[in-house]
Amino acid sequence: MSWTKDELMIAAAAEVIENRDIALVGIGLPVMAAMFAKHTTAPDLKLIYESGAIDAQPKDLPQGPGDFPLLRTSTMTTSLFDALGYVQRGKVDIAFLGAAEIDQYGNLNATVIGDYMHPDCRLPGSGGANDMGSGARKIVVISRHLRRKFPARVSYITTPGFLCGPGERERHGLGGEGPVRVVTDLGIFGFDDETKRMRILSIHPGVSKQEIIRNTQFEILGMDGEIPVTAEKSEELHRLLQSLDPQHIYIKN
C-alpha cells in the first residue's frame, strides 16, 4: 500500500528531528511527526507544549496542547510564560508550525487575510507561533500546498521567516535560524543559503512540476533542474506510523 499525502508529510517532517532535540509541538500533523520520530530515529526526543506541559509522554494522542493526558504524563507542568521563555532562551531546537499563508521567504500568516484594520477574513492569531519563529533554532512548516496559501508576500507577517531577505533576522535581533524546511502535500522545500528564497528539495511520487508551479504564486528556486522524488520509507515504518493513530484523529488524507 502506498503512503498517503498526510503520511508522507509526517515522515518528511520527522526526518528533520535529531535525536536529543527539544521539540515544541502544537496539534495536528506535527504531533504525529514528533511521535513518529520518537518511535524511530529520535528516541531521546523531548516534547514540550506551549501550554507548559514539559516532556509529556501521553499514551493516547493529545487532542490539544493543553489536553489532560499531557498533564499527567509530563515531568513538569508549568506556565506558558515558562515554556515560551525556554524558547526565547534558545533551549528549543525545533518547532513545527502551520499557517494560512506562507511566502517565498518563509514568512507565515495566521492573523488576517486582507487589510489588518478591515480584514476579509480574521484568523485565530499568533498564539506562540511568533515566539517559536523568533527564538526556536529551526522551524519546520507543514502545510497543504494550495495557490492561495503560497503568495509572493503574505498579507500579514505573523511569524518571521527571513522577512524580506538575507540579514533581516539579524538586523531585528531575532535569535533562531528561521525556517529550514517546508513540507507540503506536493513536495519538500528548503531555503537558499544566499537569497533566503524557497528552493525545492524533492517532489512527492505522482506529483508533476506543473502541479507545484500552478499552486504557487512565486518562483520556487531549482524547479528547472532535475528534482529528486521524495523517497517512501519501508512498509514496516508505514505500519508503525499507522499504528500511532489507529482512529485517524490526525491522519486523514
Binding site: G52, D67, F68, L71, H118, L123, N130, D131, E168
Partner: protein
C-alpha cells in the same frame, strides 16, 4: 484590600463589581479553566463596552463577543476546538470590535512587567514581524525595537499592562483567596499579579489549614486576591484537570451557534438569558451529563467521557 471575612461573596455580587467598559483579563487555555460561570453571569447582567486583554481566554471572549459585550480586544490567539472562533472573527471582520494583535509571549511579558512593578520588559519576540509593524489602538505603547544600553544588542521592549479586573478560575481557594491549581497554569498567576482587582472563582473552598498542608499546589497568595466565589463546574463546558473533562458536545453547540448572530442569540436565549442563574443553568445541563464528565481521581480525566473504561 477588603478584609478576609468579606472576600467570599456570591457570583451575582462578584459580577456586579465589574463596570461597563472595564479592561478585563480571564484565565484559561484551550478547553480548560475559563471562568465561564462568571462570564455567563456577566452576559445575564448585560455588561457592555468591555476591553479585553487576554492570553488564551478564547472561550470567555468568544461568548462575550457573541453577546455584543466587547469593544476592544488585545488578542494573541483565539481558537475553538479545531478552528476559528466564529463570533470573535465576525465581530473583527464587521468592525464591531477593534483588535490589537500580540504573540502569547509578547502580551504575557506586558502582564509580567506590571506583575513585577516595572515599566517595561525586554523581549526577543514580535520584533521584525507585523505584530510590531502594524499598531492599532495601542500605537506607540505596544512594542518597539530597542538597543540594549549595556551591550548594544538589538531587542524589543513591551510596556506594562495592568487590567482593571483579572477573573481567574482555580481548583481550590480558601476564604482569604489563597489559590491552588494542579497542572499547567497558563499564566494566570502573572495576570492576577498584574491586575488592579482580582476575582477568583474556585471549584472548591477549603480551610487555610488544608492549603498549608498541600502548599506545593498554591499558585497565588491571598494578598493579591480581592474576592473569592465558590463556582463548582465553573469552567463548564470547558474542563478543569482532576475535576471534570470539557464537554465537546456543548462546545460544538456554541461554535455552531456562533456561525450567525441569529443562532447565537437563540443559544443565549436558551442557555443564558433563559436560565436565571448558574443553578438553573446546571439544572438544564443535567446531572447525568455532569457525572459523565466527572474526572476519575487517579487519571485526572473522565474515562467514561473518553470511552476508556477500566
Amino acid at each position: 484590600m477588603t478584609t478576609a471575612n468579606k472576600k467570599l461573596i456570591s457570583l451575582r455580587e462578584a459580577a456586579a463589581l465589574v463596570p461597563d467598559g472595564a479592561n478585563m483579563s480571564f484565565s484559561g487555555f484551550a478547553e480548560t479553566n475559563n471562568p465561564l460561570s462568571f462570564v455567563r453571569e456577566m452576559i445575564r447582567t448585560g455588561k457592555t463596552h468591555l476591553e479585553i486583554s487576554g492570553m488564551g481566554d478564547a472561550q470567555s471572549v468568544e461568548l462575550l463577543c457573541g453577546a455584543g459585550a466587547v469593544d476592544l480586544v488585545r488578542v494573541s490567539n483565539y481558537m475553538a476546538k479545531n478552528g476559528r472562533c466564529p463570533n470573535f472573527c465576525r465581530c473583527a471582520q464587521q468592525g464591531t470590535i477593534r483588535t490589537e494583535d500580540y504573540s502569547h509571549f509578547g502580551i504575557t511579558n506586558r502582564f509580567f512587567a506590571a506583575a513585577m512593578g516595572i515599566p517595561f520588559m525586554p523581549v526577543k519576540v514580535m520584533i521584525g514581524s507585523d505584530l510590531c509593524e502594524i499598531q492599532n489602538f495601542d500605537k506607540d505603547r505596544k512594542v518597539m525595537e530597542f538597543d540594549d544600553p549595556f551591550s548594544g544588542e538589538r531587542c524589543g521592549i513591551v510596556p506594562r499592562l495592568a487590567p482593571d479586573f483579572a477573573v481567574i478560575h482555580v481548583a481550590r481557594a480558601d476564604a482569604e483567596g489563597n489559590c491552588q491549581l494542579y497542572g499547567i497554569t497558563s499564566s494566570i498567576e502573572i495576570i492576577a499579579r498584574a491586575a488592579k482587582h482580582v476575582i477568583v472563582t474556585a471549584e472548591e473552598i477549603v480551610d487555610t489549614e488544608e492549603i498549608r498542608r498541600t502548599n506545593q499546589f498554591t499558585i497565588l497568595p491571598s494578598f493579591f486576591v480581592d474576592y473569592v466565589v465558590h463556582c463548582p463546574f465553573g469552567a463548564y463546558p470547558g474542563g478543569v484537570f482532576t475535576y471534570y473533562d470539557y464537554d465537546l458536545e456543548h462546545l460544538d453547540l456554541i461554535t455552531r451557534s456562533g456561525k450567525s448572530p441569529d443562532t447565537m442569540e437563540a443559544y443565549f436565549d436558551e442557555w443564558v438569558y433563559g436560565t436565571k442563574d448558574e443553578a438553573a443553568f446546571f439544572d438544564k445541563v443535567g446531572i447525568r451529563r455532569l457525572m459523565d464528565l466527572r474526572a476519575d481521581p487517579y487519571s485526572g480525566v473522565s474515562l467514561r467521557n473518553r470511552r476508556q473504561f477500566l
